[in-house]
Symmetry: C2
Subunit: 281 residues, 2 copies
């Protein structure tokens, strides 16, 4: 079905800073990316806060890196109005920070069930309302919001948007002017509708493309993601599909790996990301 | 949306024998069910083999238990023709055993990717072909096959049928004369299409209904299922939906729990199943 794989241009590689967060502060990560010729970076808010937003933005510019996303907003559902208000305020701050750091989008991990709730349909309504309200704030400021569908194993506690179809439905309902999708292979590789929903999303909605691999066996629900090539995902096949739709952005490596990659020397991790990006993506 | 919960009749409770497999042999489980007034049982092949098929069937009859399913057939995809032939032969034996033990259906866990493969679409084609071939064997013998969609976190290594929509598609394609679905809440509770696909399945296809709960946090991908009421699944809401379609069968408790329920006295586990079935399902 797929054409033969052509290795991706190395300048398309981006590093999500969670990938070496156990080893390096953000300033060290920025310097590491520059040293290894990794041209894109996608920082997390806590890592930015640890060195200061202004300094993070300045260092990224000084090293000539392109920000490929800002992680993250979301976590909309809450048990009460005060919780929803707190989420609203925090999400507006995340938009402001994303603007200052020069991100092309704010990634949204939308949140799961409020504590004690079994009402996933209700949580999904809260997510829809929360995104709609944040869009009113972010769209005039020119900061696109990227809904990230998360694997169904996170439906209860991290994100109740679990398929690309749901993200597309939200874009249909709320309008895709300033709203799109962050497609992370780890979360969607299993979906029988994946290729059809990539086509439905199209170039306009595909705001970010995250890569890693699904290990067999997977030892931990959260912190056992694999390096590209070590698992079962047909990364090249999905990359081809998103690029067929016109996606021309970065390929952002995001690996949470408490037992393996977070224990290795970070220069080795970055070198491996580069090598596997060329060989397996 | 839902009507107020009415406690289910206790005689609808069935025990999947995996729930106490760490503590008891099958003969002890059968006696335990009878002692606790649990009227249904769904045995696993390895537990049956351990005491002998004829003896298992005789004991189940002697204690007046109703078999609610036989676990399990499937595991269709293989790397080569010899592997597929072995799966075919083993699945035919499973059908024969299901007949001898008096099961109303053989539950199919369809299998994931063959070793080394990244071709999930290909695995899904092998599953379709494997079910079609087994249906040719089982249908004339009067043994219904129940496709069990498994949670997407098992797509690589256990089952590449991961949604109720896929199972319904297979029934559409292969015909639902002797083919249906085993609906296990643990696998499908997160699915935004759940209620629509239950309606689509309808009474004819709903051959089994498995219950347990999704824990937050979940410590292990396979062996940390929760007792009904301890997690986030709206069990009563889904039961109401399947019964609205006309499902009148058992509610089968299936809990893999290495860290908790497999460590408790099995009489306590069975008593808890009964209590939670009445209180939370």
């Amino acid at each position: 079905m797929n054409a033969p794989r052509i290795a991706p241009p190395p300048e398309k590689l981006s590093l999500n800073t969670a990938t070496v967060k156990a080893q390096w502060r953000l300033d060290e990560i920025i310097e590491g990316c520059a040293r290894h010729g990794i041209r894109g970076i996608s920082p997390w808010r806590d890592q930015v806060a640890a060195i200061g937003l202004a300094r993070a933005a300045q260092l990224i510019r000084a090293h000539g890196l392109t920000v490929t996303g800002y992680c993250r907003g979301g976590m909309f559902p809450a048990a009460d109005a005060a919780g929803r208000q707190a989420a609203r305020d925090d999400n507006r701050r995340a938009v402001d920070e994303a603007l200052e750091i020069g991100a092309p989008c704010l990634v949204l991990v939308v949140g799961g069930l409020p504590p004690g709730s079994k009402d996933i349909a209700g949580a999904r309504r809260q997510v829809r309302d929360g995104i709609a309200a944040l869009l009113d704030y972010a769209q005039p400021l020119g900061m696109p919001l990227a809904i990230e569908p998360l694997h169904p194993m996170y439906a209860a506690d991290r994100a109740c948007v679990n398929t690309l179809a749901q993200a597309n439905d939200l874009c249909d309902e709320l309008g895709d002017d300033g709203l799109g999708i962050a497609l992370d292979l780890y979360h969607v590789w299993w979906d029988p509708e994946l290729f059809g929903q990539i086509k439905r999303a199209g170039r306009k909605r595909l705001l970010a493309f995250h890569i890693c691999d699904w290990l067999v066996p997977t030892a931990d629900l959260l912190l056992d993601r694999g390096m590209m090539g070590d698992g079962v995902i047909d990364i090249a096949g999905v990359r081809q599909a998103v690029e067929t739709e016109g996606y021309a952005g970065f390929h952002e490596v995001e690996i949470f790996s408490a037992g393996n990659w977070w224990k290795r020397p970070p220069d080795e991790v970055l070198a491996t990301c580069k090598q596997r990006h060329a060989a397996c993506c």
